[in-house]
C-alpha cells in the first residue's frame, strides 16, 4: 500500500459509522489496497436523514455538558438583558456560532483577542468557582462542534468553554477596535440568529 493510494481495486462492502455510540450501517465501494471507503452525496444524504431521525428519538445525545466560570455566567446574564424574552441556551448557541463562523476569520480581532488572553483581566474573568451546565444542539451544530473537536484535538466541552470565555472577553474590553466590532458586528449577528430561531 502506498502513502498516496489512488484506490484502484474496488469492492462493495458493508460498513458502519459510529455516532455517539449509535451505529449507522451502510454499503459502499471499498479499496482493497488501503481499506478506504467511498462516501458520496447519496450516502451523505442517507446519513443526514439517519442523524435527524436520531435527533427526534434521542435528543439527549445532542447535549454537551460544560462548565462556566461564575464571572462569565454573570456577564452572560447581563448580555441576556439586551435580548428580552430570549432563553439563555439560545443566546449561548448564538455566541458559539458567531465565534466559530465569523470571529475566527477576523485576523485583526483575533490578534487583539490573543493579546488580551494573557492579561490579568482575562485571568480574573475565568478564575473562581465554575458552574456545570448542559446545552442541546441541532444535529448540524452538534456535528460541527464534534468535527472541530476531532480536527483540533480538543474535547467538545473545552471548545464551548473557551469560546464563551473569549466572547465574553470581547464583550467587556474597552479596546476601541474590539468594542466597535462587538457592538456593530457581533451583536447584530447574534440578533439575526436569535430572530431566525
Amino acid at each position: 500500500m502506498t502513502e498516496h493510494c489512488e484506490h484502484e481495486k474496488l469492492i462493495i462492502e458493508n460498513h458502519h459509522k459510529e455516532f455517539e455510540k449509535e451505529i449507522f450501517e451502510y454499503k459502499a465501494s471499498t479499496c482493497k489496497d488501503c481499506n478506504a471507503v467511498l462516501w458520496d452525496n447519496e450516502l451523505e444524504k442517507s446519513y443526514g436523514a439517519w442523524v435527524n431521525k436520531l435527533y427526534k428519538e434521542k435528543r439527549h445525545i445532542f447535549q454537551i455538558q460544560y462548565s462556566i466560570p461564575a464571572t462569565v455566567q454573570e456577564c452572560i446574564g447581563k448580555l441576556l438583558e439586551r435580548f428580552p424574552h430570549v432563553e439563555e441556551s439560545l443566546l449561548i448557541r448564538a455566541l458559539i456560532v458567531v465565534y466559530i463562523d465569523m470571529v475566527e476569520n477576523e485576523q485583526n480581532i483575533m490578534d487583539s483577542l490573543e493579546h488580551y488572553l494573557i492579561s490579568e483581566d482575562y485571568l480574573h474573568l475565568i478564575e473562581g468557582q465554575k458552574n456545570s451546565k448542559k446545552i442541546q444542539f441541532a444535529p448540524s451544530g452538534f456535528q460541527k462542534i464534534q468535527s472541530y473537536s476531532k480536527l483540533f484535538g480538543m474535547k467538545p466541552n473545552k471548545i464551548l468553554e473557551e469560546v464563551l470565555n473569549r466572547m465574553i472577553l470581547l464583550s467587556i474590553r474597552e479596546d476601541e477596535v474590539m468594542k466597535e466590532f462587538w457592538e456593530n458586528v457581533i451583536l447584530k449577528d447574534i440578533a439575526m440568529i436569535i430572530e431566525a430561531a
Binding site: 478506504a36 462516501w39 473569549r166
Partner: protein, 132 residues
Amino acid sequence: MRINEPKSLHERLDEEKDFLKKLKLSVEEGKLEFWIDRKNPPNLTIEEFKIFLNKLRRSFEPDIVPRNSEAGKYGLTGEDECFQFEAKIGFLGTLKDYYVKGFFFDKDNLMGVEIQSFREKPQQVLKFRTRR
C-alpha cells in the same frame, strides 16, 4: 445567445480559474466523492473536510501530478491529473497541517470532485499565547 439565463454548474466550474474557489464550488454545489477510513495514515471525515475547506481563505496553486487510477465511478471520465496541497488551519490558538489530494470530474463536463486523501500531517501541535 442566452440572456439572463443562470449559468450551469459546469459553466461556472469551467470558467473558474481560482483553484480554491473551484474546489469550494465543487464541494458546495457539485458532487463530492470522498474517501474515508483509509488505514496508515487514516483519512478524516467529510464533515471535517468541509470545515477545513471553509477555513482556507487565500488563493493558492496546488501541485499537479498525473492520475494513475482509472477505477471508481469517475475514474475513466475524471481529469487526467490530480491536485495535491498542504495547508495549515487554526482554531482557538491551535494550528494543524493537513494534506489533500484529489481530482475534478468529468473532464469534459465538470460537475464535482473526488477527494482521495484528506489527513493530518504528522507534526508538533503549536500552541500560542492562550492561558486556560
